[in-house]
């Protein structure tokens, strides 16, 4: 029982951190695609959002739909990140990214992406670090579980 519990806790911890790290990496990949699309020329945000899939592009789509439905920039930004499972810090950064997105020039847009990317890189490093620690926790918990098992035997 104890062995099973230790292993389960360790694995849940590791999986959760790994998923968050992978989410952030996916968003950063999407931001790179977004930047490429802007650099490639006269695309509208709607077209870019429609041509691509992923967590972040879904948020972009939601933001644009909310704007078209008459929401203000701030409200639309809130709606866009509502369902996202980022940390408080990440959510704040993402919201300020979306707030004002529709009226930004290409230069301002690139700067916004860079700022957001920098923050996500930092938090993803933390997430990667925690994922590593979680892996260690998992190994330790397996060892502890195994030790308890041997002792009981």
């Amino acid at each position: 029982m104890l062995f099973g519990l230790c292993v389960l806790i360790g694995m849940r911890l590791a999986a959760g951190k790994k998923a968050r790290y992978e989410d952030l990496c996916a968003i950063m990949r999407e931001l790179r695609i977004f930047l490429d699309a802007i650099d490639a020329g006269q695309n509208s945000l709607t077209l870019i959002a429609e041509r691509n899939q992923g967590i972040w592009f879904t948020m972009l789509k939601t933001y644009l739909q909310a704007r078209s439905a008459g929401q203000s920039e701030t409200e639309a930004a809130e709606t866009a990140i509502e369902a996202w499972s980022g940390t408080m810090e990440e959510k704040t950064a993402m919201q300020s990214f979306f707030n004002g997105l529709s009226t930004s020039s290409a230069t301002a847009l690139r700067q916004r992406v860079r700022t957001l990317n920098t923050l996500l890189e930092e938090t993803s490093k933390e997430a990667a670090e925690t994922a590593k620690q979680a892996k260690t926790i998992r190994i330790v918990s397996v060892l502890i579980g195994a030790g308890i098992g041997i002792l009981l035997l």
Partner: protein, 306 residues
């Protein structure tokens, strides 16, 4: 409901949409002018009407204008920087002129710090409006190189669009041929988002979004057109591009601002084009629906059309 009405009523704020929806189409609305904290001006050809909001309130506020601009740009301001810098947006084939405070840096004019007014020009496609002109503008089934002149808002672009369509489809006794259109401001094709909402015929290729001169060079060298069409001849570069195309055996169709042959002769680049006989016909449009004069390369009247 007319196509323009459906589009603009959906895009503009409710107060303005209600006024537009009630306009009788026979009145031929040509412009909607919105100004910050001011009533709305509706232009019907030669006359206009000033419309106030409820209790003599202004029709548009600063917030309204900001939101309208965002909608016009499909919430993608970054994609319209060049157009804004030139003072206009072309949406659904309609040119929307901007006024307001612009800013300038060492690198030149960069754009609008705030928009205080919009001039929305309503565009209508008028099929066969060029038909009465064709006997004087063609020879043996071939369109002659022609220049259409008039003050703004008198239908030059509409007439040019129909001439392009006629030549491209081969209609009304005109032999079908390939047409290349240099459409800098997306007004001929209405193609600001890549689609072509206006019918320019089956043999027409359009290059839009770059200067007319640059587009003309590309059209002539890569698309081998029989006819090159250019709306609003403005700069000497445009004139040189037309001269070059004409020298390569391409028939040129163009429009320019002006009220008369004499007005044309006052502009050096026009004098050059007339001297080099780039145009064999010049159509002088006076206003929508009135009789237009057709001149030959020497400025002599050869015909009239409505």
């Amino acid at each position: 409901m007319e196509q323009w009405k459906t589009y603009w009523c959906a895009l503009l704020p409710p107060g303005i949409s209600e006024v537009l929806a009630a306009i009788d189409e026979t009145m031929l609305l040509t412009e909607i002018r919105l100004r910050r904290d001011a009533p709305m001006e509706l232009v019907f050809g030669d006359s206009d009407r000033i419309i106030y909001g409820n209790n003599a309130q202004p029709m548009t506020t600063e917030d309204d204008l900001r939101e309208i601009c965002a909608r016009l740009q499909a919430y993608s301001a970054f994609a319209w920087e060049n157009e804004r810098r030139d003072g206009f947006l072309t949406v659904h084939g309609c040119r929307v002129g901007l006024s307001g405070r612009m800013y300038r840096t060492d690198r030149g004019v960069l754009g609008f710090a705030s928009v205080s007014g919009l001039n929305i020009r309503i565009v209508r496609e008028m099929h066969d409006c060029a038909k009465p002109f064709l006997p004087d503008l063609s020879n043996g089934g071939k369109l002659l190189p022609s220049l259409l002149i008039s003050p703004p808002g008198c239908g030059k672009t509409t007439l040019l669009r129909d001439l392009i369509r006629t030549a491209s489809n081969g209609m009304h006794g005109i032999r079908a041929c390939r047409v290349g259109a240099a459409d800098e401001r997306f007004e001929l094709s209405g193609a600001s988002d890549g689609s072509i909402p206006f019918d320019l015929g089956v043999r027409t290729d359009v290059i839009s979004g770059i200067t007319k001169a640059d587009a003309a060079v590309r059209i002539v060298s890569t698309l081998s057109p029989d006819i090159l069409a250019m709306d609003e001849l403005n700069t000497s570069r445009d004139a040189m591009a037309l001269l070059d195309a004409s020298g390569r055996g391409v028939t040129v169709l163009a429009t320019a601002h002006g009220r008369s042959w004499n007005d044309l002769c006052k502009r050096p680049m026009m004098r050059l084009l007339l001297k080099e006989r780039v145009f064999e016909r010049c159509v002088v449009l006076e206003s929508i629906g009135t009789i237009s004069t057709i001149l030959d390369a020497d400025g002599k009247e050869v015909g009239r059309a409505i």
